[in-house]
């Protein structure tokens, strides 16, 4: 019985959201506010129970003398909360600065080791048919490299580097890059459509199956 009730609630809420297809209406607004409310509450619960409790509160309560360094994040975290009031907000700047210090260093290291170097290395591919595994693969490898360089020169070009030595080559490269990016964005669009369709199927499957029992 309660399971049936739950399915009905979920179905009604789903239909309330779909009512937006007719027009923006109070039911839809209500649904959205309920969703945001639930999301806010749930996130708060998870953040407190999955991060703050095991990582901060428990170490300090269990063994305060042994875990005294944890006073630092506690202090910085509490200072951050002063940002809720405009007049005391500057107190929280140190906490934000701490986050940016850690974040900047990790971002630099990560971007270098995880993206920049491996991706440059990935562009360094064989263009000879006998080593690349066939003429087709060699052509594709050439296209990959040319396309990547073209995209980069397109960014460089649009950042304002229109003059100077080699600007003709740069201009050509950026034209290549522009077309490569057009195709990339076309692919992104196609993939996004695919994702949205899958999401719709999930909901329709719920409505037809779990709610109406028409689909097994």
């Amino acid at each position: 019985m309660s399971e049936l009730f739950a399915v009905w609630i979920a179905a009604i809420l789903t239909l309330m959201v779909y009512s937006y297809l007719f027009a923006d209406n109070p039911l839809y607004r209500l649904a959205q506010h309920l969703f945001v409310g639930s999301s806010v509450g749930y996130s708060a619960v998870v953040v407190i129970h999955n991060v703050l409790r095991p990582r901060l509160v428990e170490p300090l309560l269990d063994d305060a003398t042994g875990n005294w360094p944890y006073v630092l994040p506690l202090l910085l975290g509490l200072l951050l909360l002063t940002k809720a009031r405009g007049t005391t907000a500057w107190l929280g700047n140190s906490s934000v600065a701490f986050l940016f210090g850690v974040g900047a260093a990790l971002a630099i290291g990560g971007a270098l080791i995880g993206s920049l170097l491996p991706q440059i290395q990935a562009s360094w591919v064989s263009v000879l048919p006998n080593t690349a595994g066939g003429a087709g693969a060699a052509v594709n490898n050439i296209l990959l490299t040319v396309g990547t360089i073209g995209t980069l020169s397109y960014f460089y070009f649009t950042m304002g580097a229109r003059k100077g030595p080699g600007s003709g080559l740069l201009r050509f490269g950026s034209t290549v890059g522009r077309w490569v990016l057009l195709i990339t964005f076309g692919a992104i669009f196609g993939n996004r459509v695919m994702a949205y369709v899958s999401l719709l199927i999930e909901r329709v499957h719920f409505l037809l199956g779990d709610w109406l029992g028409l689909v097994g």
Partner: protein, 511 residues
Amino acid sequence: MECPHCGAANKPDSLFCGECGEFLGTPKGITCAMCDTPHAPGITACTQCGARLIPPGVSPAELPLELGDEAAVTDEVEGVVPEDAEVAQEPGEETVPPWLKKLEAVPAEEVAERGLEGEDLERGELPEWLEVPTEFEDMLSEASIAADEEEAAPAEEIPSWLEALRPEELEGVEDISAAAGPAEATGLLKGIRGTLGIEPILALPRRAVPVQAVSPSSGAYERAELFDSVVREPARPGIELAQRRRVEKLAASTVRWMTYLIIAAAVVVPLLLGSNWSEANMSVSAGATAMYDTVEALPQGALVLVSHDYDPGIAGEMIPQARAVLHHLMGRGVRLISVSLTPEGARLSRQVLDEVAEAHGYSYGEEYLSLGYVVAVEAGPRSFFEGLVTHGWSDFVGQGEEIALMVEFAGAPEYLRLWLEQVQGPYGVPMAAGVSATADPFARPYYHNEGRRQLIGLITGLVGAAEYERLSGQAGPALTAMDSQSVVHIAIVLLILVGNVAYFGGRVRGK
């Protein structure tokens, strides 16, 4: 011709009076906003450039939104100019070395918020840099705006609840303005969530694309100003125009309804028929095969780390993936430790884990473990992984134990990037990924990396889940959905074709 202001005689076709400099134009006619050609009253399209002529006293909001491409460009010119000016005004540090100056981060472009909610939701779902850039978006949104303009919420509606609608991990999006702007005169969370990384990501390509549209001819700025003045004109629609507008509105809403019905039918009918055409015809991509083989090669008892980085919004794609892969993993008898970069992922993954575990006789705490949520900034995955390898995890993970494979389920590119940059790269953990289709193009360069093999396997969206179900011989929800997916794709392609036929048909008739 005679100047209406000072009476001086001017050559015919003169635009400005040679005596007093006043604009001659055609006093009662219409001047084209795009190319300044004057026209007699009653003409609806410019004879020189084909742009739609907007009668004086009519707000363009009253016109169907089908401005020529050039209009979009001039519009953009306006948007970009102040931004560039801002860059120039940025307080220059006296001591900045020139090479750093060159690398100076540029403030993210403020894209005018559109009143269309669908549009905004779309935006909230992906990091902005993966969004279709404005120049294409103009193309896309123009139509949806026209279709939905009558039901668009007032602009002030957007901040409160739509802003809140945005998943936390995207709050970095707002940080950009704070990070790039001169002072922190912004709200509460500014400058916190993005802890870097995200900021340049958003700033770079965003800026790159619109600028390219700016190769303004000398007259473009004047035209843009004129266009702007036309845009600002208050609405005073004539009766005739109001009638035409009503007809056009009706036509637009009919088209919209037809579209909705086609899509709904394309999803519902195959599901109701229970057709299973796709199941037999499912082809399998190389990425899915690679992922399957990797899992198949895992020794029994190996330690596998699985990250479930998705929320209910994208769960329609991700849960079938997770289910298919987890079935296979548990079938191999490996030990699973799971984590999530979204608060919701913790709950969603636990449900799937428990369900699959029951089928394979796994017990919680001995063969699988869920560690819940870790914050989705650089420090999150890193601290999690460092803790795991240096201290182990109670009895489950021994100190210094090697992780045989990491499987990442990424609902958005950002999560994949975090794991790749903070864990896969520095620690060299073998990694395979199941990604939402929205993240597929982002994941591919990491998959196609012969030298480094950053991603060993890759499955994409619901289709990827279906491929995996096919490979492991366990038909599930994804394979069942493939017929609907196919039919909707066909329907959308047909809609694109019909839309173009209608468009060109209209153009031909117009001439």
